[in-house]
């Protein structure tokens, strides 16, 4: 893909990223940070790509290290976020909305 197309995607993503979190309530700051943290675990895709074309052992072992690290980021991130959010049960959340 040419550079301008990639730049377009990059710039538009910035606006989307800012827009989607602009109205978050303070009680969700921590889960939101943790969820966003899990999303960048998708760097696993990159780790698999470089490992899948590794031509020597240095590249292979470094690639496998990157895969392990990225998977920890992704899996751990989503699981820990889910644990936090388990406690925000929908019934209570509605009560909170009413209280406001």
């Amino acid at each position: 893909m040419d550079a301008i197309a990639l730049l377009t995607i990059f710039i538009l993503s910035i606006f989307v990223g800012i827009e989607v979190v602009s109205k978050v309530s303070a009680i969700l700051h921590t889960p939101l940070m943790s969820g966003a943290n899990a999303i960048h675990g998708v760097v696993l895709v990159g780790a698999i790509l470089v490992t899948g074309k590794a031509t020597d052992n240095v590249q292979l072992y470094l690639g496998l290290v990157a895969i392990v690290l990225a998977t920890i980021n992704m899996v751990g991130g989503f699981v820990v976020t889910d644990r936090m959010l388990e406690m925000f049960k929908p019934k209570k959340a509605e009560k909170e909305e009413v209280a406001k």
């Binding site: 990059f10 800012i18 899990a38």
Partner: protein, 476 residues
């Protein structure tokens, strides 16, 4: 290789099939919906699951990318799958086992390894491709630097929050000049590397960046650490986006940029909740004088109380406000405090919890911890809502909190926490502190309220103290 894997490897298409690219688009949409969902309590959990679905989709289809990515069929497939399995087990077990009180440092750790992965990917790409395109080289170097800073910076915030080292700002002699020197050295090496892409310079750059991450986080202390975690989270997002550019992968660009942009905004919101511009958070310790008001804490008289005294004060009050802090969570006393509040409410006493935006170790952390103990949401009051009520409050019961009720933030311009909004417990008729010791709080600043004549202190583990108070309250 098992027969299935062999077949999979052989099936690798020459050009990436359309369905794979559509699946990537789906993953990108799921990430946007995930962030959107996470912004509201009702949809947060579903949002997180959508994000996980997006990540799983992205990971599943990467094996079907065209041969221009892999230079032929996917190599090393068994090792790759084993590495994914190992990472999944480590991540899953760590996330399931971590105590909710230690969750902020767990997030820091997960963020750090993500940054580390992005840096390693760019190192491999540099070693294997030898690209001479300046935009590609720039993005590669950006990822190495930012990913490495995020890696060591996050590990250090982990060490600080886990109390493996002091949580106070660490100011080394000439620290400011060393940091600036290393930063300049990193940039100079980066520029040289773009002009002359040789491996030796890359290793130098990697080393400098790793050191830089440590130097940047060392002088950050106390309640500012969570803000730095959020900032490093945004950094990792940007380095992932840059690695997406290096690898020609649109999904990584989208996902990384989404996290980078939303993380930056979130960091600013957190800093705002603490009443501090971001630059103060990062560079505050460079300029802060040794906190002036820490003089002779041990010598000054304080009024200590027995659990019975506290029970009587609470039992005959009309209005009580509970200020829970990290010490409550550390002592695992959330259930005991709920029991205490239920007793008081049964006596017809008006009780609220005052939740400071950064109570606990992160914005919203205390809400999570109290929700875990089934404390009803209606009793949790946010700072702006509860502050006007303190003058009409008979007893403010501060359990394991310190910095968030320290009037120095309001009155003392030299205090490192000056400007942070606080809960005005000093305006209540009586104040009771449940504390382990006279040790100052996370930010390491003396709290004048402790020495106020209307303040009583009940020393001991928060859970023990509360249990005793509950027991004597039952006999009243």
């Amino acid at each position: 290789m098992t027969p299935t894997l062999t077949r999979l490897a052989e099936q690798t298409a020459v050009i990436t099939p359309t369905w794979v690219r559509v699946a990537e688009l789906l993953a990108a949409v799921l990430f946007i919906l995930a962030l959107k969902g996470l912004s509201s309590p009702k949809t947060a959990r579903r949002g997180n699951l959508l994000g996980a679905a997006g990540a799983a989709t992205a990971t599943a289809v990467v094996f079907f990318y065209g041969q221009q990515y892999y230079g032929g069929p996917v190599k090393h497939l068994p090792q790759i799958l084993v590495a994914i399995a190992i990472g999944s087990i480590i991540g899953w077990v760590a996330a399931r086992r971590v105590q909710m009180t230690q969750m902020p440092q767990m997030v820091a750790l997960f963020n750090g390894v993500g940054g580390g992965a992005a840096a390693v990917i760019s190192v491999i790409e540099f070693l294997s491709v030898h690209s001479e395109s300046i935009p590609i080289l720039t993005a590669t170097i950006f990822t190495v630097v930012v990913g490495s800073v995020s890696f060591t910076g996050s590990l250090l915030t982990y060490a600080k929050l886990q109390e493996l080292m002091t949580s106070r700002p660490v100011v080394i002699p000439l620290g400011r000049f060393i940091t600036i020197g290393v930063a300049v050295g990193t940039i100079a090496t980066a520029v040289l590397l773009i002009i002359n892409p040789v491996n030796s310079l890359l290793w130098l750059l990697l080393g400098l960046s790793l050191v830089l991450g440590i130097l940047l986080v060392l002088p950050v202390g106390g309640a500012d650490v969570p803000i730095v975690i959020s900032l490093l989270n945004a950094f990792t997002g940007l380095s992932v986006a840059a690695s997406g550019y290096v690898l020609g992968n649109v999904l990584l660009i989208v996902a990384g940029t989404l996290v980078g942009a939303s993380g930056t905004l979130l960091t600013r919101m957190m800093a705002k909740a603490m009443g501090r511009p971001l630059t103060n958070t990062l560079f505050g310790a460079f300029t802060a004088k040794a906190s002036a008001s820490t003089a002779s804490a041990e010598d000054r008289p304080v009024k200590s109380a027995s659990p019975e005294d506290v029970a009587i004060m609470l039992g005959y009050a009309r209005k009580v406000i509970i200020v829970p802090g990290y010490g409550l969570a550390v002592a695992q006393a959330q259930n005991t405090i709920r029991e205490l509040v239920e007793l008081l409410v049964a006596k017809g006493i008006e009780v609220d919890y005052a939740i400071h935006p950064v109570a606990g170790r992160m914005p919203g952390h205390m809400n999570v911890l109290l929700a875990e103990a089934n404390v009803p949401y209606e009793q949790l009051k946010e700072m702006d809502e509860i502050n006007p009520e303190f003058p009409a409050t008979d007893v403010a019961l501060v359990v394991g909190a310190n910095d968030v009720v320290n009037p120095a933030a309001r009155d003392d311009k030299t205090a490192p926490i000056y400007g942070m909004p606080i809960l005005n417990v000093d305006q209540a008729q009586q104040v009771v502190f449940l504390k382990r010791s006279m040790r100052p709080g996370f930010a390491g600043i003396e709290n004048e309220v402790l020495f106020d004549p209307k303040t009583s202190l009940l020393f001991g583990d928060a859970k023990d103290s509360l249990t005793k108070v509950v027991n004597s309250l039952k006999t009243l």
